[in-house]
Every structure is written in structure tokens, then in C-alpha cells.
Symmetry: C2
Subunit: 182 residues, 2 copies
């Protein structure tokens, strides 16, 4: 790669009242301070994909909808992906899975980082499902993630996330792991 | 229950070109021939839920959107659920997970049947994920499902599903299992 590699950080929750954007902003600040990467923050709430409405398997890359073509171009320009995800009913949320299922080659071969958040579980079950989905897309999945338990207790009066020490350590470890596998 | 129990058969795929409706019509004919039950076929393509847009956890049942209130009323009237589901990227599809995540109490306590379809895998990995999600909703999950491998090879020239013997056997077994657990 001649240019600085681009990490795309994707906010997987689109729910009104979500905390995902706050979490993603914390991780994005970490990543932007790292001179090894260029960073793009992608908000699925703004991408605004409808429920999967393509008739062809994405392996064929024969997209019929303008929103799919735009989404394909967006992900095509990145070199690695970090998903910031919630856990709904002990599993992946639909907005994240929907955005993934639209594409195939655009994901393949890229490092897949995961930042999951939740209550005591820290979104771990959704994170495991996401790694499993990533493996079916030939992504470079990595054992360690950034796991944020009790996320609501970490939001300060200004609405920003006050990270624990282990969050900062694991964010740095995730960026190192991505750098090694690009 | 004074009345005949109502099984709701839900088509979990909304994708253009889906085979889900064909599969669901086969299972529905089976179920309708069974005098123990009333049957309602629900097509998520017609329900047409947007990506989850409720600010409150469904445990609170404080719905803000008309489509959520309608969906809640629909599922509330049923006594058991049979999901007819595809498998996308070795996992549950987003339309199914989205429709589930809108509600909580409406699912709880009901038998959860699964009819999954796919290639050689028969949609098994999506089926396992759905049972796991069902368990987080206090649904009565059941070990055996109706699994349909190589589903496209079973569609005849009229677009109907020509079942294998094991499909008919497992459909009957699923209806028996539901009857016992209502």
C-alpha cells in the first residue's frame, strides 16, 4: 500500500437513544491520534440502508439499487474495518447484519476489529457472532476485541465516554493488531 | 386455552427473489390440514417494518411508532410461532432479527418452531442462532427443526415446493412438539 491505510469505523446501531455514537467517538479519537492510519467514521444511521432489497447474491456484485452502489463504493475505499456494536437479545443487531449482507468482495481480506458494548456482558455475544460472520466473508478476524461492560455508567455529564484503563489498553492493542495484519 | 390455539407462521426473508414464501406455503398447507390448530401466515415483506426505531427497551412495552403497535398486536394474538428462515453469511438474516427485536413480552412463553432452508447446510446455522435468540426471550425452544437442504432443487415447474419424505416427517413432528408444549 503506497498511501496511509484507511480504517473505517462503523457505528452499527441506528436506534434512537443509542450510545453507539458516543462509544465510536471515543474509539475514533484513539485511532485518529495514531499516525499509522487514516480514519473514516461511518454512521449507519446516516448511510440509512433499507432492509436488504437486492435480488442477486453479493458475490456477483450485480447491484440494482443506488444505495447499494454507494455503500459498495464507501467500503471499497477502506483497508480495515472496526465495527462498534451493541448486543440485542444476546445477539447481533439487525442494522449491522443488514449492512454486512449487502456486500461481499468489499469486506473480503480486510482486518475486522470489534468494539462491543453493553451491560455486564459487554456485548460479547454479539461480538462473537460478528467474528463468525466476518470469517464467512474471508475477513481477517482477530481474537481480541475492545469490550465495554456497563457502558452507560461511563458516560459523563457532557455525554462523552470516560474510558477505563483496560479500554484504552485494548483499543491500542486492537490498532496494533490491525497494523500487523494489513 | 378455550379456543383452538393459533400458530403464526412468519416468513423471515423479505429479499426480492426469495424462496421463503414458497417454503412457507408448503409448511402452511401442512399446518392447515392439522385440525388441532388455527393458522396465520405472516409475511415480513408485507409487515414492512423499518430498521428498529424504538427508543425504549421492548421489555417496557412503551412503543412510540404505529408500526410497532401494529406488530405487537399481531404477535399478541398468537399462541405459537414458526419462523421460516434463510441463512445469510452463515447466520440469521436482518429482517428476521429486526422483527424479533421490536418486541419482548409478545414472544415470551410461546413455543418457537423453526423451518430453515438453504444449500447443503439447510440453513442450520441461522436456525441455531434463532433458537439462541428465542431462549433469550423465554420462548419454548425445541431441539428439532424442519431443515431443508438444497431447497432450490425442490421447486417444481409451477413454482411449488416438492417435499422430500423427511421434510413431511419433520413438519409433522414439529406440529406435534408444538401441540405438546402449548
Amino acid at each position: 500500500m503506497a498511501d496511509t491505510p484507511l480504517i473505517q469505523i462503523i457505528i452499527g446501531s441506528t436506534r434512537p437513544g443509542r450510545i453507539g455514537r458516543t462509544v465510536a467517538e471515543w474509539f475514533t479519537a484513539h485511532a485518529e491520534a495514531d499516525e499509522r492510519f487514516d480514519i473514516e467514521l461511518i454512521d449507519l444511521g446516516e448511510v440509512n440502508l433499507p432492509m436488504l432489497d437486492e435480488p442477486n447474491h453479493p458475490r456477483k456484485r450485480r447491484y440494482t439499487q443506488e444505495h447499494t452502489k454507494r455503500w459498495s463504493e464507501t467500503i471499497d475505499r477502506g483497508d480495515a474495518v472496526v465495527w462498534v456494536i451493541p448486543e440485542y437479545n444476546y445477539a447481533l443487531n439487525s442494522a449491522t447484519k443488514n449492512a454486512i449482507d449487502y456486500l461481499f468482495h468489499e469486506w473480503a481480506g480486510k482486518p475486522l476489529g470489534v468494539v462491543s458494548y453493553g451491560g455486564v456482558s459487554g456485548g460479547l455475544r454479539a461480538a462473537q457472532q460478528l467474528k463468525q460472520v466476518g470469517s464467512s466473508l474471508w475477513m481477517k478476524t482477530m481474537p481480541d476485541i475492545v469490550m465495554i461492560p456497563n457502558v452507560h455508567s461511563l458516560v459523563d455529564d457532557d455525554g462523552a465516554l470516560q474510558p477505563t484503563e483496560i479500554m484504552d489498553t485494548s483499543a491500542a492493542a486492537l490498532l496494533d493488531a490491525i497494523a500487523e495484519r494489513l
